[in-house]
Subunit: 348 residues, 2 copies
């Protein structure tokens, strides 16, 4: 199916199996199916519409969008599988060994924008690359609430920690910190939300979990604390990514069920629309997936499917002290160790 | 006032006068005053509110915002004057001679988002840099209509051409083309609007008007046609920038007066909100001023003041053939020679 230039022997742990591309893309398509089914059940009214598309330089994908649903004002779940001659410069800086080689990339990504401001926005992306002598997995999942509940944040993180712990005890603490670093809006000095997990360039062979220069904000202090965990095989990492993908519905579904009935009014709506602006800023200024897609002539409508249906900007907005809006900034938009019980509490 | 590291002798035409910074910044502040006064008159109801700010690394500015006016849903006119140790990488790529030198930068920029979808959005920016052995002027003005009228587009361009022609016959054709190239959304294959003029790195000494690698879209074909115009002095270029700045109100004001009374409904409003999304995409993905501001730790609220107050994204939107919305795409979102009388006409 795919014109490969990657050696397919599996004689050392650092090489992928000969059917690596098919196995990963099959899983990522199943993940898209599973997530869309689960979300339609949660939504109760909306249905996903699918567009299949082909990319001129090689590959294609299937984009699924839900609009004006019972819970989701808009949501997109996108699967893509692309190949071509050269990776874009933004990736070659990180993986110079890939220069001059053809590449293969597959991924499933998702962003949901619920209507009720008490239901958080959520993002998921898992992806796999091969290019000449190198391959790697990347991805993660993170939660962006507007009016957060500590209970929801703890449950979300605990579900991700359980998924990580099934594979390596260092995964959750490392990838939780990496998430805090990556989803950081430097120009606002805010995290995007309450985080989750994020990792990139996981090829197992370096024996280090963290080796990306993502540190931008207050979480940058963590970077030096990540140790050597020993080599992990392609199979180890693929199994881990599958567990992570399958953890999405258990992590997010209960939050939707708890909050979708909460009453809200214009105040909550206006704040939600305003905060959605941060999502746009992050995706267009910093997001690696967006930049990769635009640089590789991806399908623009699928790449920008993550942008919210309605957004507000307000010059010099600041929440009034003591309000629930202020609590979001004070407590939730900075890195916290949500599972330690020692996070700073919102003012009551 | 400013700690200069630039030689201040004016013995050759390529050196600025000793009071260059004061003269340019004084003009740019006056331009801000003139524009704000003119816009308040046009608006009839709204008034600009000013925030003065200081930048820790050196410099500061004054940001003026009009909100919920009679004509302008939101508009910002920003003056800034900053200095520091190093120019950001995005500029040093273009001006390697500036590396290792302190820099000085001053500019006035403006974006207006009218409420009536028949009144176009407009953007202006004029700026001046000094860094070690180099100095340059840059800037321009461009118009982004939602429901355009050829008459308005021609009048806008004619006013800019008159301003340019007073200084050099090659300025308008060159800077008009540069504008088409620069304000181009590659990922959409659309110009941002109907253009205007744009130039950057005008230091006079190369004797060429065009030497920026901006060509991205259909206008890229023009680049090779730009010839050598001979050297121009600092005084020549400063006089030209003043004429351009002063041309803004005559170029834009009559359009507001002609269109602000046109009745509009939900259809026009929804299309306007959707098209505003392109403005956000351009500013966050491509705009040199935005990237410069964020990279130099500028004041975020002033930099992002250009973002519209309310914006809509809609997955896979396409205008229906034969509608006025389709005419925008077919006729106005591609480079055209508006003053030749030979542009392609909108379908009637």
């Amino acid at each position: 199916m795919v014109n490969t230039s990657v050696p397919s022997t599996a004689s050392t742990p650092s090489l992928p199996p000969s059917d690596s591309r098919e196995r990963v893309s099959t899983f990522l398509k199943q993940l898209q199916d599973q997530i869309c089914q689960g979300l339609e059940q949660l939504d109760g009214a909306g249905k996903f519409q699918e567009d299949s598309w082909q990319r001129e330089e090689g590959g294609g994908g299937r984009s699924r969008v839900i609009k004006a649903g019972g819970v989701f004002e808009q949501g997109g779940v996108n699967f893509s599988e692309v190949w071509g001659k050269d990776l874009p410069p933004s990736i070659l800086v990180q993986r110079p060994e890939a220069a001059g080689h053809g590449f293969y990339a597959t991924g499933t990504s998702m962003v949901l924008h619920p209507r009720n401001p008490y239901v958080p926005t959520v993002h998921l992306n898992y992806r796999y690359f091969e290019a000449g002598p190198v391959w790697w997995f990347g991805g993660g999942i993170d939660l962006t609430p507007y009016y957060p509940f500590v209970e929801d944040v703890v449950q979300f993180h605990q579900t991700l920690k359980d998924a990580c712990d099934a594979h390596h005890p260092e995964y959750y603490p490392t990838f939780k910190r990496w998430c805090d670093e990556y989803f950081y809006l430097k120009h606002r000095q805010e995290t995007r939300g309450v985080g989750g997990i994020f990792f990139d360039y996981q090829d197992g062979k370096l024996g280090k979990l963290y080796h990306g220069p993502d540190a931008q904000g207050p979480a940058a202090q963590y970077s030096n604390s990540v140790g050597d965990v020993g080599p992990r095989s392609w199979e180890d990492l693929f199994a881990f990514v599958q567990t992570c993908g399958n953890a999405f519905l258990p992590a997010y579904g209960p939050i939707v069920e708890r909050r979708q009935g909460t009453e809200w009014g214009d105040r909550e709506r206006q704040f939600q629309l305003y905060r959605r602006g941060r999502y746009v800023e992050f995706n267009l200024i910093y997001d690696r997936g967006t930049i990769f897609g635009l640089q590789t002539n991806g399908r623009t409508e699928s790449i920008l499917m993550s942008l919210p249906p309605l957004v507000r900007w307000e010059y010099s907005y600041q929440p009034e002290p003591g309000t629930r809006e202020a609590a979001l900034y004070e407590t939730f938009l900075k890195p916290q160790d949500w599972l330690s019980g020692s996070y700073s509490q919102p003012a009551s």
